[in-house]
């Protein structure tokens, strides 16, 4: 057993790397088509929400015209489909196709999060609740197929109830309800309609729980992407309207049925292997998925720490934390501030974005040892300043660049060389703008290059966005006006776009050289002298 586990885990690691590489490559193509912020693979969770709302709105419309009853159900669905094809028919098709699209985006979302290893540490909560949501989605979808009461519904009702009966939990087999007209009750359709409404409501509640540990969760896709997806589903609805199959006839076996494989794939499996075998298989897969955040166990990085002596209670760290891991509480040390930041260790992923937001994380301070109000123990601001200055001191030439990268982006080592030093951060969002100011305006380097995860796909959700906004002086802490923007280069290409990152860096250095040569020689010399002097002071 242990031997099997020992071989299975490296295989899972290889599969994960291969999948991640595949996602990166496909995302690069989609970036070109949609732009990084409307890339569908970057918006899978939000697209799931969008599909849910389409299903909910179309479902409410259909329910207005739907009748429950053995014969009434089928007849009412036929009326909806044909008598008002332009409204009810389209709504029915949207209802089905958006439900199917929901399965596609949710499964892709799940596989991508696994491939990017984004379910460990505090993220286990979203992952595990997401696994539960899968069951609810399938329950909601399958119950929807019952209420139409056509041949497909007849098969689905029998196969699903046989599958449930395999559990042996019910006194009388549920399948008994569907073996003959005399055993079928119209009230059963009322019950199924209730289930088909209740389960999606529970699903909605579960979706709300799923995003509880994210601040600013992405529940709305960009408008352009939402409109595109809606238009695509509408085109499909008109081109291939969802239709009922022949009415159910319990005196006949439901011959060939057009199966919705997104929802109903387990049913043929239970026909062939038996209900119990499918329960065991699906149960085992579910347990494995639930345990995935801890397979294999990994040591957590030390979480962020608040230094009350430096914390002025400004709440920027709490505002910027992507996981809601920092809360503001009444001051406990008697200092004249209303609040203080408190880190929830169980929610902190040690990304350092809070440090990047802290106004006290300024390397210019010389009054005492550099300590920010909030710090990451693995990389304190004092250590970062020391590393920055040491790395810059070794640089020579007229395009000296310090490249900061996050540990989830392209490998940094290949970028280092003559005139380029590299420093790795947990997340690009950890770098406080005053560090850019220090390195450039005090002449430590000629330019700073920032790289990391792919644009729109920040591993820590908001690191790239906050970095851009701080540098563009749209978000506190702002980069000071005196720092020339042309001496900064931001290129977020992701892990598998190392060549692109290297090209962007080379182009940036070429621009720096050109800019230096275009400056008047005397001014440049004067500035260089002043900067060298500042380096000595710094």
């Amino acid at each position: 057993m242990e031997e099997a586990a020992a071989t299975a885990l490296p295989r899972a690691g290889a599969a994960r790397r291969a999948l991640r590489s595949l996602f990166d490559r496909v995302e690069a193509v989609l970036d070109a088509a949609f732009g990084p912020h409307a890339n569908p693979l970057h918006q899978l969770g939000a697209l799931g929400w969008f599909c849910y709302w389409i299903v909910a709105v179309s479902g409410i419309y259909l329910y207005v015209f739907f009748d429950t009853g053995v014969t009434e159900a089928y007849a009412s669905v036929e009326r909806i489909t044909h008598d008002q094809w332009f409204a009810g028919g389209v709504m029915r098709s949207l209802h089905r196709y958006a439900s199917d699209a929901l399965v596609v985006v949710v499964l892709l979302h799940l596989v991508r999060e696994w491939a990017l290893d984004r379910m460990r540490g505090p993220r286990w909560f979203a992952w595990v609740t997401g696994v539960v949501l899968l069951w609810l989605i399938f329950a909601a979808g399958i119950s929807g197929y019952w209420v139409v009461w056509d041949r497909l519904a007849q098969y689905v009702a029998l196969a699903t109830s046989e599958w449930l009966d395999a559990l042996g939990l019910f006194g009388q087999p549920i399948a008994h309800n569907f073996v003959h007209e005399s055993t079928l009750s119209g009230r059963f359709f009322t019950l199924m309609s209730f289930i088909h409404i209740a389960v999606p409501l529970v699903l909605l509640f579960g979706m709300w729980v799923h995003i509880q540990r994210h601040s600013r969760p992405g529940v709305n896709p960009p408008r352009r992407l939402a409109l595109g997806a809606l238009a695509a589903l509408l085109v499909l609805s008109f081109a291939k309207p969802a239709l009922s199959q022949a009415p159910a006839d319990l005196a006949r076996v439901p011959g060939p049925v057009g199966l919705d494989w997104f929802y109903l794939a387990p049913l043929p499996l239970q026909d062939h292997y038996g209900g119990l075998a499918v329960w065991i298989a699906t149960g085992a897969v579910t347990i494995l998925m639930v345990l995935a955040p801890w397979l294999p166990p990994q040591r957590r990085q030390p979480v962020a720490e608040v230094h009350l002596d430096e914390c002025n209670g400004c709440a920027r760290c709490a505002t910027d934390c992507p996981y809601g891991a920092i809360v503001m509480q009444p001051r406990s040390d008697g200092r004249p501030f209303a609040q203080e930041a408190v880190v929830s260790p169980e929610l902190c992923v040690s990304c350092g974005i809070c440090v990047g937001a802290c106004p006290t994380a300024t390397p210019f301070s010389r009054r005492r040892a550099l300590v920010a109000g909030v710090e990451l123990p693995e990389l304190t601001m004092a250590a970062l300043r020391t590393r920055c200055q040491a790395a810059a001191a070794a640089l020579e030439g007229d395009a000296r660049v310090l490249a900061f990268g996050c540990r989830h982006g392209a490998a940094l080592a290949p970028l280092s060389g003559d005139g380029v030093a590299v420093l790795e951060l947990p997340c690009a969002g950890m770098l406080p703008p005053p560090f850019l100011d220090l390195m450039i305006m005090r002449g430590h380097v000629d330019g700073v290059f920032l790289t990391g995860c792919a644009e729109g796909a920040c591993r820590d959700r908001l690191g790239i966005r906050w970095t851009r906004e701080r540098i563009d002086r749209e978000r506190d802490p702002y980069l000071r006006e005196r720092v020339p923007r042309e001496r900064l280069c931001l290129y977020f290409g992701g892990r598998h776009r190392g060549a692109g990152t290297a090209r962007a860096l080379a182009a940036f250095r070429a621009r720096l050289v050109a800019a230096a040569r275009s400056r008047p020689a005397t001014a440049a010399a004067g500035a260089a002298g002043a900067e060298r002097e500042a380096v000595g002071r710094g």
Partner: protein
């Protein structure tokens, strides 16, 4: 990539997505049962006899009971498992022992089974044991059934209706 190229790629992506959704939402079709056969579904629920026969309380025992708890019989809860056997044209196709439901084994036994049968006229022999006897059956019925390909018929047992019947 130019805007035209990006737009074309978007159309391609949306097109591929809806093509996948549209196709797998109803295809490929699936045939759950061989259409050249008929199905006989055996499905019923029936309570077997109690494992221990009920004993009549003596007048002294009844008098000793609280007035609102007095009852004439002392019955253990557990029931015997049923044994059901179905033969089609003399070939036994189902032979099961059905335990009573419930944690105390005091509920009805149930059976649900699908028997695939060739079309045509068949003699269905259904047998049921629902008492404490160790051998043989308490109910046996011979039924003549005419089945066409694709038919689905129900074989059930109802004690009140006289035993087995095919619907």
């Amino acid at each position: 990539m130019g805007s035209v190229g990006a737009g074309a790629l978007q159309v391609l992506v949306y097109g591929a997505f809806v093509a996948l959704v549209g196709w797998l939402s109803s295809a490929p079709s699936y045939t759950p049962v061989d259409p050249s056969l008929a199905l006989l579904r055996v499905s019923f629920s029936h309570a077997g006899e109690r494992v221990e026969p009920c004993r009549r309380y003596t007048p002294e025992e009844i008098a000793a009971m609280a007035p609102n708890m007095r009852r004439p019989l002392d019955c253990a809860r557990e029931r015997v498992p049923l044994r059901v056997q179905v033969a089609v044209d003399g070939v036994v196709m189902l032979d099961r022992v059905l335990p009573p439901s419930g944690l105390a084994g005091d509920g009805a036994s149930t059976v649900y089974a699908r028997l695939a049968v060739a079309p045509g006229r068949h003699r269905v022999t259904a047998r049921l044991r629902d008492t404490r006897r160790a051998e043989g059956f308490d109910h046996e019925d011979d039924l003549q059934v005419e089945l066409s390909a694709g038919d689905s018929r129900l074989l059930e047992f109802r004690a009140q209706a006289g035993g087995f019947r095919v619907l």
